[in-house]
């Protein structure tokens, strides 16, 4: 998708291509606004991480974008083709892995399609397995393959690495980064892990009080190094925004 960002852009006349456009979104539970007059734009192919303390409304926002929560006010524009990976893999335990991957695809998709998607996440050898026999990391990768097999223009990730152990998480993060670069879809990653956000995203948003409270561009070359002083600076700044004091950071 060619978007000439260097040309003279007059916002009113030529609308820039967008993967997500949210304007004045409000979602209230029993009168309490969890998402409150929120504005958000994602460019096609952009990787955005959404940080925030638990209960700040970041998961609610993702559910709205996924189309799972329609009790909303405001404008929400999202691509028709969306993929979602939740914190739990949410695979149907009664379907073999490859059938899980193809579930919901229109028509009669070929098994080869699932095999290809599973190969891409490094699970070509578990095509025929039952989901309950997979390890946590494997199940999460199946869930990722299931989201990617429908070639989404927008990939929504709701803390997909939250339940993984530290070693598995590092691999899964790297995998998501690679898949994103290969596929070129826009990604919204909801997480509470600042390091993960800075490692992967073009842009990190901090959500607080139901809106985007802070925005931070990450203009470091990929692959990014945790030891890079600029990385550490961004990380420290974001932690500060999230209310983590420097003393606690050092600990």
């Amino acid at each position: 998708m060619a978007t000439d960002v260097h040309g003279p852009v007059s916002p009113a006349a030529t609308p820039v291509a967008q993967a997500v456009h949210v304007e004045g979104l409000t979602r209230a539970f029993d009168g309490r606004a969890v998402v409150d007059d929120l504005h958000l734009d994602l460019a096609p192919g952009e990787f955005v991480a959404l940080l925030g303390r638990s209960g700040c409304g970041k998961s609610t926002l993702l559910r709205v974008l996924a189309g799972l929560d329609r009790d909303i006010d405001g404008t929400v524009m999202v691509p028709r083709r969306r993929g979602v990976a939740f914190q739990a893999p949410r695979l149907m335990p009664w379907k073999r892995v490859w059938r899980n991957v193809l579930l919901g695809l229109p028509g009669k998709p070929e098994r080869a399609l699932a095999e290809q998607a599973l190969e891409e996440v490094g699970l070509g050898h578990r095509v025929n397995a039952w989901p309950k026999t997979l390890s946590g990391g494997e199940a999460q990768r199946v869930s990722l393959a299931r989201a990617l097999v429908r070639e989404p223009d927008l990939l929504l990730l709701d803390e997909p690495f939250g339940a993984l152990d530290a070693l598995t998480r590092i691999n899964a993060q790297r995998l998501v980064g690679e898949l994103w670069q290969r596929r070129g879809c826009a990604v919204l990653l909801v997480t509470h892990d600042v390091e993960e956000a800075v490692l992967l995203a073009d842009r990190v948003l901090v959500m607080d009080g139901g809106r985007i409270a802070h925005e931070q561009r990450v203009e470091l070359d990929r692959p990014r190094e945790l030891t890079d002083p600029r990385f550490a600076a961004i990380r420290a700044d974001l932690l500060g925004r999230l209310g983590v004091t420097p003393a606690a950071q050092a600990a």
Binding site: M92, P93, K95
Partner: protein, 289 residues
């Protein structure tokens, strides 16, 4: 507990650390070598066999009169006679046919109602309350009413079995549908499944374990209902055989019929188990076999 006899702490200030005293080691015997040489199945059969021998001895010595309970030998002999003259096989055939008819009807009605009230909110409002009310009526109590309605032919017997089968199935299928993980339903929605697709790929498979539990209960109740139905003015079937035997004080025939009931029940249970193994292969408990 007194600690006064504890050895002095080894960390002397002088620094001449003695090597720690080596504890006495104990061999842990593997479980397999401790097992008795008698195989398990043999040990398990000794209990019932002892009872059987005791029963035979009591009968042979006359301590247990034949009109109270026939001896095992006599029962075996009678069973052979009943099979030889064809009365037992024909009675079994008739009884089996009744159970099958009631089971099929009850499964259709119970599952159908559960689907209506499980899948649709309006169905729940309309169907669930009446079913829950009817459920509390003991179905055996309806036999007199059914005889007045349907006469004394096959219909009231099958109706009783149908009724007994319907409710456990309804309850379990309904609970199974309503118990499907909402997270999975949401995942299905996020994958773009239609309403029917959600039912087919998420709700029904998710309700299957509950449905099979219901089927097991239903089978048990079907035999129970059969016994009741056949002992009230029947002219054929195992129940009839028993009523007839009662009139002639033939405890041997009664015991043979009871054994037949037990075997039929075991057979039914085996069928459901096989179904479970086949349909619930995805559950981790079934992968190991």
């Amino acid at each position: 507990m007194s600690i006064s006899h504890a050895p002095p702490h080894p960390s002397d200030a002088a620094g001449t650390a003695k090597p720690p005293a080596s504890p006495t080691l104990q061999r842990l015997v593997p479980a397999s070598s401790r097992r008795s040489r008698l195989p398990r199945w043999l040990r398990r059969t000794t209990g019932p066999l002892t009872l059987l021998v005791l029963w035979q001895v009591l009968s042979s010595t006359g301590a247990l009169a034949p009109d109270v309970l026939a001896s095992p030998g006599r029962i075996t002999q009678v069973a052979g006679d009943l099979i030889a003259d064809g009365s037992l096989p024909s009675a079994m055939g008739i009884s089996l046919r009744r159970v099958a008819a009631g089971l099929v009807l009850g499964t259709v009605v119970g599952t159908g109602l559960a689907l209506i009230s499980g899948l649709f909110r309006i169905g729940e409002d309309v169907v669930d309350a009446p079913v829950q009310m009817l459920r509390t009526v003991p179905f055996v109590g309806l036999i007199p009413l059914f005889i007045i309605w349907f006469g004394i032919g096959e219909t009231p017997k099958i109706a009783i079995i149908t009724l007994g089968v319907t409710f456990p199935l309804y309850l379990n299928v309904y609970a199974g549908i309503r118990g499907v993980d909402t997270q999975l339903i949401e995942a299905g929605e996020s994958l773009g499944l239609s309403r029917w697709g959600l039912v087919r790929h998420v709700v029904l498979p998710g309700a299957l374990p509950g449905a099979l539990t219901g089927l097991r209960y239903s089978l048990g109740i079907a035999w129970l209902a059969l016994v009741f139905a056949e002992q009230v003015n029947a002219d054929s079937g195992i129940g009839f055989l028993m009523v007839q035997a009662r009139d002639f004080l033939r405890t041997d025939v009664i015991v043979v019929c009871l054994i037949v009931y037990a075997f039929l029940g075991l057979l039914a249970d085996f069928i459901v188990r096989s179904l479970e193994r086949l349909l619930l292969r995805w559950r981790p408990t079934f992968t190991g076999r």
